[in-house]
Assembly symmetry: C2
Homo-oligomer: 217 residues x 2
């Protein structure tokens, strides 16, 4: 599959690296290709020779599946740059969380309660099939879940399109996830985005990001 | 221990019944004793002869530990009725969630993000030692956790007073809980109250309330 990963941070690199390892054709999208190349990107890219770098629009144009791995604040601008036409009809795996650090730590959510970033993105790009997933755990666990309790923990998918959720679930399963729970339509992204406050407190309390929740039933 | 349980609903009865079973002296507080007695209370009370019913203030006056098992909307009025003097110095286990059903299902939270019901209660009763706990699972699992995965799932305590959290943790452990996680001060109640949206969606999806999260680490 041709996968475009928008975002060059920890999450973007984790998804891109793992998807390439699994045989997908991966391009990473960035706002400014030259600025990214001039940064710390070079070292990572040298270790991942099959992965190309492009502007958001070029990265998205030829993709079968697009991953939003930008910051919450940067998500709508990045997707605007990717372009509604380029995104039309495609599955968009949205991993971003609308964290607001402007008042310090712990951050609050800039979209919350009766709305979510996932819904905002779906409304802004109605022809795109948005699936919220993987926003509830740390990057390394998103792509290598078996390192924790042999994968015995849960992740969630939220979205309006059943086929798109199936495609994302297959990708997550290929990463090693064993318990992908379909919560329902895109409004259920409120629930997973609102997990962030307790996630951040547990992170502080446990002293490691290598944890996740399991829905015991 | 003398325990006052404010609230006669499902949560109040579950906590009261279990605490009495474990040998505590239990009184249940209600807004209107006569109205409660005239309702469906009688049948339950007949099965729990050791448990007495009283107004919120009378119930609270002699208690060592007070449990807020009222609805989110009713919590501050019930605690006002219990009285700041009666609550002074005491441990208050706050189980309520600030759910707002005025726009239908799923409810939103009436306090959220940069505040929580737990914090509001702590601010309103500064001499009371508020501990938020048990608001993240169904009543029957609060008090009989071993019925699910032999108790291999997590609950949380949030509060400013270490001794109060210890007292609540002991009570939870006596109920059968095996993994009580101290999240930190009362502001961490935001995180557990914000679990409600995903809890409600999982409830719909799984078709049972007999589930809980486990923090896998």
């Amino acid at each position: 599959m041709r996968i475009a990963v928008l975002g060059t941070g920890m999450v973007g690199r984790a998804i891109a690296g793992r998807a390439a390892e699994l045989g997908h054709q991966v391009v990473v999208g960035t706002r400014d290709v030259d600025a990214t190349r001039d940064g710390e990107w070079g070292e990572w890219a040298a270790d991942h020779p099959g992965i190309t770098l492009a502007g958001h629009a070029d990265a998205t144009a030829e993709a079968d599946l697009v991953v939003n791995a930008t910051n919450g604040d940067g998500s709508l601008p990045a997707l605007d740059a990717a372009g509604a036409e380029n995104l039309a009809g495609k599955v968009l795996l949205d991993i971003a969380n609308p964290l607001d650090f402007s008042q310090g730590f712990p951050p609050t959510l800039s979209v919350v309660n009766d709305d979510s970033l996932g819904e905002r993105i779906q409304r802004a790009f109605p022809r795109t099939r948005v699936v919220k997933a993987l926003n509830t755990l740390t990057a390394d666990l998103m792509v290598h879940p078996r390192q924790l309790a042999d994968g015995d923990h849960s992740v969630f998918v939220s979205g309006d399109d059943a086929d798109a959720k199936r495609a994302v679930t297959e990708l997550l399963t290929s990463f090693g996830h064993t318990d992908v729970i379909d919560l329902g339509d895109i409004t259920t992204a409120r629930g997973t985005e609102m997990l962030l406050p307790i996630w951040l407190r547990l992170y502080g309390r446990l002293g490691t990001a290598l944890f996740n929740v399991k829905v015991v039933r």
